[in-house]
């Protein structure tokens, strides 16, 4: 075993010496492909979301390359599975950065993974953009190499609270959050808003992931007689939880995130159990051409909120690189992200549109499938409207928009 490693090291050592010597800035003249990595959960807790995110990125890159690439250079994608596991994510990120030499990693999902790979990427000057919601993701010193298209959990909690407060009949509210890095922050933000509006929080429970039954948790919460149960989880656990709640004969309301109450959820619980469940999420720009193009390119990709974001993430990275006028690196992306995503500028809805205008020296403002994609200084998305829906007769119907 040791001999093999030594031989391997020797071989790669020489090639590495040559490659490492070359700078990461490559001249605009070369047709060298631009390496970009995806680090999605294809297995593990996030395993139901990763594949669609990856599909969205692949679809965008096909379009980019068909349109002639970024400043004439094609994009080459490298995919890795983080197994929704921080250590596996670190090893995968290492491979993407050191072996594939990516300039950006898009569509990370789990907060734990994003938090773990962040230091590596900052050090290697690789740009990371994902959907992780934990507040810590954009805090601290990351020198601008990180951004996310998902509103942070504090904002999310407050928006859900705002909606709940509009329903005066929901006086007693219980929060049941899945154990994730942001369950607490979401719960606190939510509770703060509803309490200020006069409701009582009757119970506050963080529940464990991957349990086949939540009967004990539900029994405990129902003992406090809530009018509304605020459920903060993902699809797999929400299916189990909502069924368990239904089985007890609970007649009150349930509010959950839309990414949990998706088509898979409806399939899993059936129309009778799902009847009346409220759900909300950041409103995608339904009428935006970007969203329409996304739906056409990634059929079934709208079953979660993440694939549209992945679509936008790769588009933003590509536009930022296009704005770099020849230089290709994570630093270029970080420097140009806000110039292509935030106003002022002509609204564009795809890479092709934006690249054309950038080529003419004009300023663009990308409006994406998941939202306007405007970022603040630390990489968070600026606040956005939320859309509230309710399941009626097996289908989700849009009820109202909640504005920040």
């Amino acid at each position: 075993m040791t001999t093999m490693t030594r031989r391997e090291l020797l071989k790669t050592g020489t090639t590495a010496g040559l490659v490492l010597g070359a700078p990461t800035l490559i001249s605009a003249q070369s047709k060298e492909p631009i390496p970009i990595g995806t680090l999605c959960p294809l297995t593990g807790a996030g395993g139901s979301y990763g594949p669609d995110m990856q599909r969205a990125v692949v679809a965008v890159v096909e379009r980019i390359n068909k349109a002639g690439g970024i400043n004439g250079r094609p994009v080459q994608l490298f995919h890795e599975d983080d197994q929704t596991n921080a250590e596996a994510g670190v090893r995968a990120a290492r491979k993407l950065i050191d072996v594939n030499k990516v300039v950006a990693i898009v569509s990370t999902w789990a907060s734990a993974v994003t938090l773990a790979v962040r230091p590596l990427c900052v050090e290697a000057k690789v740009f990371v953009i994902g959907v992780s919601g934990a507040d810590a993701v954009t805090q601290g010193d990351h020198k601008g190499y990180i951004a996310r298209t998902q509103p942070n959990t504090n904002l999310q909690g407050r928006m859900y609270g705002k909606f709940a407060a509009t329903k005066k009949e929901w006086k007693r509210i219980a929060y049941m959050g899945l154990q994730t890095p942001y369950a607490r922050s979401f719960g606190d933000a939510f509770s703060g808003v509803v309490k200020a509006a006069g409701a009582t929080i009757t119970d506050d429970l963080i529940y464990e992931d991957k349990k086949p039954s939540y009967r004990s948790e539900v029994t405990r919460v129902l003992a406090t007689n809530p009018d509304l149960i605020m459920l903060g989880g993902y699809t797999p656990d929400s299916v189990v939880m909502v069924k368990d709640i239904y089985k007890t004969g609970y007649k009150g309301a349930i509010l959950a995130p839309s990414f949990a109450v998706n088509a898979k959820f409806l399939e899993g619980v059936g129309p009778e159990v799902a009847e009346g469940v409220w759900h909300m999420d950041r409103a995608p720009l339904f009428d935006s051409p970007a969203y329409k193009e996304f739906l056409a390119a990634v059929p079934g990709g709208d079953t979660g909120p993440y694939a549209p974001q992945a679509w936008d993430q790769i588009t933003l990275v590509a536009l930022a690189l296009a704005a770099g006028r020849g230089e290709v690196s994570g630093t270029v992306i970080k420097d140009n992200l806000r110039t292509v995503s935030n106003p002022p500028g002509t609204a564009v809805y795809s890479f092709a549109e934006g690249a054309k205008l950038l080529g003419e020296g004009k300023k663009v403002n990308y409006e994406g499938a998941s939202g306007s994609c405007d970022f603040d200084q630390i990489g968070d998305i600026l606040s956005a409207p939320f859309i509230v829906q309710q399941v009626r007769k097996g289908k989700s119907e849009r009820v109202m928009i909640v504005n920040p």
Partner: protein, 286 residues
């Protein structure tokens, strides 16, 4: 505050489901002299076989359940023949480790074919009815009833039938039983078949009561172990009592400690029993 009885009832149902693999685990341990960690994975196998029959082929859930019994028993037998029989003379530790390997393999075969998603059977979801202040689900009562019947049958089998008596004799003293002409391997084969079937049936109950996923059985191993140890290794009524107690304590425990620590309860029970009365309630030889 729901009546304390609600927690007890929930615990009884959980315990009822737990009793089946606990009995299998306990008896097999006594017979084969090692804790077979694959038993809890047999639950998973049974649940998925039923899923295949019920959702895939469209069979009624009762038929799917029977199918699960047969299939899981067969799988258990195959596992025994391939893995444990070549190791009959080895130390318990090696067999236990091998059984962990088997559990790993079975769980991942299921995962390979069906993925990690939670699934449900094609049965209508029923709401609980309120009986004397308690929320009682129709499925819960059904599961409990069948579990009790199975337990009674198992106990009758062990006490009254020749094969059952032979099993107990082999478990008590294998050398003596062999000398007396008891066909040891045949006895082990039947015990494995029966134990596997019980576990498989329990898996379907668990899938009905909760959900079907590759980790469903593995997640119960600590509780199964606790029930078997509490009841006394080798005693079927002991395992049943142990399972009910474990189920009830786990449910009632959520009044005092956060539900996320449920596994800790099982573990604490194990520790307590092993320290205070290692032979368990039934007092059989450890």
């Amino acid at each position: 505050m729901p009546p304390f009885a609600q927690y007890v009832f929930n615990g009884v149902v959980t315990g009822g489901i737990l009793a089946l693999p606990a009995v299998a685990f306990s008896l097999l341990w006594r017979l084969l002299r090692f804790p077979n960690f694959a038993v809890s994975t047999y639950l998973t196998v049974g649940a998925y076989v039923a899923l295949m029959l019920n959702v895939g082929v469209g069979a009624r859930i009762e038929l799917a359940w029977l199918g699960a019994l047969l299939a899981t028993g067969t799988v258990a037998l195959a596992v025994d023949r391939i893995t444990f029989r070549p190791m009959r003379a080895r130390r318990p530790f090696s067999l236990a480790i091998a059984s962990i390997g088997v559990a790993f393999i079975l769980e991942n075969i299921v995962r390979f074919v069906w993925g990690n998603d939670f699934r449900s059977y094609a049965v209508p979801v029923t709401r609980a009815t309120s009986v004397a202040g308690l929320r009682i689900g129709r499925d819960q009562v059904l599961i409990l009833g069948v579990a009790v019947v199975l337990m009674a049958l198992a106990q009758l089998f062990l006490l009254r039938t020749r094969l059952g008596i032979a099993m107990r004799a082999t478990a008590d003293n294998p050398l003596l039983a062999a000398v007396k002409g008891v066909p040891t391997e045949r006895v082990i084969g039947w015990a494995t078949l029966g134990g596997g079937a019980l576990a498989g049936g329990a898996g379907v109950f668990l899938g009905l009561d909760a959900s079907v996923d590759p980790l469903m059985g593995g997640g119960l191993i600590i509780s199964v172990f606790a029930a078997a140890i509490l009841g006394g290794i080798g005693s079927a009524p002991g395992a049943l009592a142990g399972a009910l107690i474990v189920g009830i304590v786990e449910e009632v425990g959520t009044l005092l400690i956060p539900p996320t620590y449920k596994t800790a309860i099982g573990f604490t029970i194990i520790l307590a029993v092993l320290l205070v009365r290692p032979t368990g309630l039934a007092g059989a030889r450890g």
